[in-house]
Amino acid sequence: MLYRSRADSIERSLALTLAAIVLFVIANLFPVIGLEVQGERIETTLFGTVRALYDQDRVLVAALVCLTTIIMPAVELGAMAYLLIPLRLNQTPPAAALVFRMLGLSRPWGMVEVFMLGILVALVKLAQLAGVLPGIAMWSIFGLMFILAAAASAFDPRALWARLERKS
């Protein structure tokens, strides 16, 4: 199927984008997984994984992880919110074309769903080593995976441009 138009695409994708932003913030603030060894508790956040790679001088790998799990999803969500919120309020966002292009660039490089699978594999590997504690961020990444996909598929560039062009 090539294209199907929906009348309320802007409202729907905006609602999903805002929900995804909430989950994304939680995913970044709270620990993803914790490890309990001899009564000691070690936890890592999303950025903690980047930090650990950086500290081991694996700078490029750290950059790749940071880009695909933090920066690109943030750009994607930010760009969608930037375009959709003013349109919902009947205003035109400045530099809409530029932000729209950024959105297109960010999409293939945001890999939240792959990271989620990575968490599962890591959980299994670690379970043999010590007690593992799934963190709050793991659940929000799990939710983010679905809501981000739903927001992206509800986002309709044609409806967006139709509204932008009607304004100008």
Binding site: V32, I33, G34, L35, V37, E40, I42, E43, T44, G48, T49, V50, R51, A52, L53, Q56, R58, L60, V61, L64, V65, T68, T69, A97, L98, F100, R101, G104, P108, M111, V114, F115, L117, G118, I119, L120, V121, A122, V124, K125, L126, Q128, L129, P157, R158, W161, E165
Partner: protein, 212 residues
């Protein structure tokens, strides 16, 4: 083959990759940009074949260290251990988590290799102006684009393990030299898939129809 459509290129129109607008380029200007979103416009992606080849060859070269060198180094009270991508899969398999072993095997071994082979096949078929099974080849391209990102799985697993397993005396895990090579293979093949222009598959069809 009777066709009920014409391509934009045949009508002298250009479609924008980014926003999808179809526009007529002004003949005066050498380099045109989309009148709506300002992206560069081109009938076909510039130097698609040469660029895809360059990225593919780089990916093939890096594929060797990515699989031969250790991707993860574990040092514990039991001694040092180095894991390659493949030995990580074997470890998962032998510890009983075979569904996950299968997932990791597909994502980190099968997918990168299949992707390189599929893209090489597509580029060669386009270079030879092949008219063989264009629908199947277009499908193959879409599959390559869809599935490529999943190869990042191993990098993420390593990132999480490295961050957590820092138990000074007991065990520490470090990312091995293969990690960056492996990441580079994934990124390079993703770029290779992006620079390949699937419309070239149909262009061979068009010239053949035109001449007959």
């Amino acid at each position: 083959m009777t066709r009920s459509f014409v391509s934009a290129a045949q009508l002298g129109l250009l479609s924008c990759h980014v926003c999808g607008l179809l526009s007529r380029p002004s003949a005066a200007r050498h380099r045109t940009s989309c009148p709506r979103c300002g992206s560069h416009l081109h009938a076909r992606k510039p130097n698609s074949i040469a660029r895809t080849w360059a990225l593919l060859i780089a990916a093939i070269i890096l594929y060797v260290p990515a699989n031969a060198l250790p991707v993860m180094e574990t040092s514990s009270i039991f001694g040092e251990q180095e894991d390659t991508i493949m030995s990580g899969v074997v470890y998962l398999w032998s510890s009983g988590a075979w569904p996950l072993a299968l997932v990791v095997f597909i994502a980190s071994v099968t997918v990168p290799l299949a992707k390189i082979i599929a893209l090489a096949f597509l580029v060669i078929s386009v270079q030879r102006r092949s008219t063989w099974q264009p629908v199947q080849r277009a499908r193959l391209y879409r599959l390559v684009e869809l599935v490529g990102r999943w190869s990042m799985l191993d990098i993420f697993v390593i990132a999480i393990l490295v961050a957590l397993v820092q138990l000074n005396a007991l065990a520490t895990i470090r990312a091995g030299p293969a990690a960056i090579a492996f990441g580079a293979v994934v990124v390079l093949t993703m770029f290779a898939a992006m620079t390949f222009d699937p419309r070239l598959i149909w262009d061979a069809q068009e010239t053949r129809d035109g001449s007959s």
